[in-house]
Symmetry: D2
């Protein structure tokens, strides 16, 4: 296994051996397809709800892609780390305490890499980074996110994080509140306030997952829009992580560093 770790990116012609945990789930089944289709990855294990994780070891997986559930993700990560299998984690629900646990396991296996990303859509990661870079140049910043109507939370996690990042960049640049002369507001019209950045959530049949970060200053606006039409949009990011993880031992949170941003 360790040998596999060291060689994850290596001989051209020798594909990276990948196991998918949660292989029958909505995301998992896409990952199975993506790993199977890519020329430089090979699907060696599909782990479903009642399957033993030992299938990963038996299949010779160098990298596991974890796409299960907040309840099971941590146990799965632990198994992989202890067995010298790199893990790309797309399941949400890892807070600071959980990440600290992962770090402690990795201390024992310094050659193993774990990449945890809240959003594997490359466009979403770029959007957030560009929003952070742009924030200090504009008096005003707001976010409009638009999702399918089955979504339970408003705003979306990505929008809330983007707002926090923008708010921090504004504060670092010494920007005060955005101008707003509203004196007569119908409750909710001006959206939710996330660290001073207004966020608006549209819920609509037909939509998938979309976000606009809007910036404005005198005479001009800049809009960064990300449209995710399909959960397949996560797969390029997942594959990127699968390819890079061999050269990134330890815990990596977010795709930013993999994207060179």
């Amino acid at each position: 296994m360790q040998k596999g770790c060291r060689h994850v990116n290596s001989p051209v012609g020798s594909p990276i051996k990948v196991g998918v945990i949660g292989a029958r789930g909505r995301m998992g089944s896409e990952a199975v397809r993506a790993v199977g289709d890519a020329p430089d990855t090979e699907l060696v294990a599909q782990i479903n709800r009642d399957d033993s994780l030992s299938g990963l070891v038996e299949g010779g997986a160098q990298v596991a892609v974890e796409l299960t559930h907040p309840d099971s993700v941590l146990d799965n990560v632990r198994f992989c780390v202890e067995n010298g299998i790199h893990v790309v984690v797309g399941t949400s629900g890892l807070g600071q305490a959980e990440l600290d646990a992962v770090r402690s396991w990795l201390a024992e296996r310094p050659e193993v890499g774990v990449i945890v990303a809240p959003n594997f859509a490359i466009g979403a990661v770029l959007s957030m980074r560009f929003a952070e870079l742009a924030a200090r140049f504009f008096e005003s910043a707001e976010i409009v996110e638009l999702h399918h109507p089955k979504k339970a939370d408003a705003p979306s996690g990505t929008a809330a994080r983007t707002a926090q990042v923008v708010a921090r960049a504004r504060a670092d640049a010494g920007l005060g509140d955005a101008p707003d002369a509203t004196t007569k507001e119908l409750d909710g019209a001006r959206g939710a306030d996330v660290d001073g950045v207004r966020v608006h959530s549209v819920r609509m049949s037909g939509l998938v997952a979309h976000q606009e970060v809007l910036f404005g200053t005198e005479g001009e606006t800049l809009t960064i829009r990300h449209d995710s039409y399909d959960r397949r949009s996560f797969m390029p990011g997942v594959l990127l992580a699968v390819r890079e993880i061999g050269s990134r031992p330890g815990l990596t949170v977010g795709l930013d560093s993999l994207l060179g941003l």
Copy 2:
């Protein structure tokens, strides 16, 4: 004067004689320019704050364009009607009681026309009409309006009216509530509720006046967007009203009928 009324649209080559009330205001000065520039209208009177309205009569105005203030608009309209001068009213603030008063004056002068429009931007009028027509075909409908940060009210009057029109069309078609599974909302994220239609108000430096009406159903969305970059956008609607008023005696509210919608 009555003769003028009857001939407002008439001899080609004989421009319509127009007076502007509130000629030095922001909208008024644009109207002065627009009336002066158009080949088929002639500016014959400019009435400012302390000027007597008799300048309209002396100038031989067939049509007055009223662009002053909610406090003065009603007196100005009365003067015009009593003097047989058609009036195009762009000033806001005429409620039902005021419109009834106008109707009573017009009863005495049935040849005179008064056109009152809350929004003379043709694109805004079309947007609202299209939104009304589309509403019954979509499960979901929401409005995002975006304005400069000096605006006092949120949502904008146009957005609120559009939401009401959409809500009524939905009700007439027997549509129930739009689907929305939101269970965890940061206060305000889902916008203001106008008769069941969610309205979101963005306030941003650089913007002027913009509105998107979004409709969604299975697998598709329809968006009607109006961008007003400049108060000159009201002038084509004002000129249309000036040209049409001669053939529309009595009170007309809204540009819809003039647009043949």
Copy 3:
């Protein structure tokens, strides 16, 4: 069968019996699902490539949904008309000559309805109609359509038709050419010229089918945007046609009249 025809919309509680021709195709399989899911329709026949059309008669289909191929559509429609089965045709490829043939068959069976629509997405039909209504009020009109990169034709058929409709409305209103001071153009930058209306075709991974019709006049623009994320977007229009066809004997081209536009 004739009895069925007369009663297509009738007794509440008695669903409309529908057969799908081309049931295993991409569109056909969605139609099978949609007809099966809707409370007021019943799937009584699925006809695949090598199946006899007699399955429609045996199943008691009142309405057939034709979703096959330009090569086979005409024979299928003929069979249905001759057997007193209404047909909703979503297959493209019926030109004037083919429509004339359909009319001649219908002359023998005046109680039967055939609805042929190039695009069953209700948002697309509304877009085209609104574009037609708006065209005469704006100096400028252009179309930007954006599709997945596997599309063979540029512009899309819908964009070309929309441009023609806009061009005709402009001509009817006496509008001349849109203003355009371009003197130095890199070949193709200003798009394709469809009856004087410029059409721009974007081809891009990730996209599905999208179209913006843009109108501009002094100080304002109006944009009508349709986004189709999924071929399921055709199903509400297909079901609408299935429900309405019983009261629309003869040939109907386009969904406009069914939408009351």
Copy 4:
């Protein structure tokens, strides 16, 4: 003067002394207003067409803002450099030969700074930089730029430059041609080809200056949109250059380095 140069950014409370060359032009008059309004700049000279440039020296200008015409810009820059006055150049028309000439003059006056920028709208500069950063992550990239109909060139200079930057980033990342199955194209539909990147130019009444850079990959798109509503949008960039030029001797082309991008 040299003393002034060294102190351009210095004592708080002592505003930077600025002269505007081309003060009555469309851009120049905005610069006069912006320099006059900003708390840390002082307008000390307004040079018009027939005025001598010596007014800059007499007024004690530390920085000149050059907003004239391609025919005169080079002489004006030379005068400033020779007189130890920093110059912020917003006039277009400086090609490689002209920039080389500026460099040779600066060699004699190494303490002087010249900043030449084709576009001072900060949003435009950010758009181009973000497009460059994003390009390598997406299979497809196209540009749609939209301008008022009085524009002579299509595509715009900014769009052409953005396309070149995107094309180079794609090439550096080893990306081949974007996927495009178009086999049947109406001439011009697919836009202009700038180094393999398709660029579409919309010309429309009501618009000012707008640009969208679209990127797409499996299941997602990223759009970077810049809207310039007003030539005032150049002023924040001009003021930024005025404030920074004292610490940037020599020739600086583009605002990127000033923005820390």
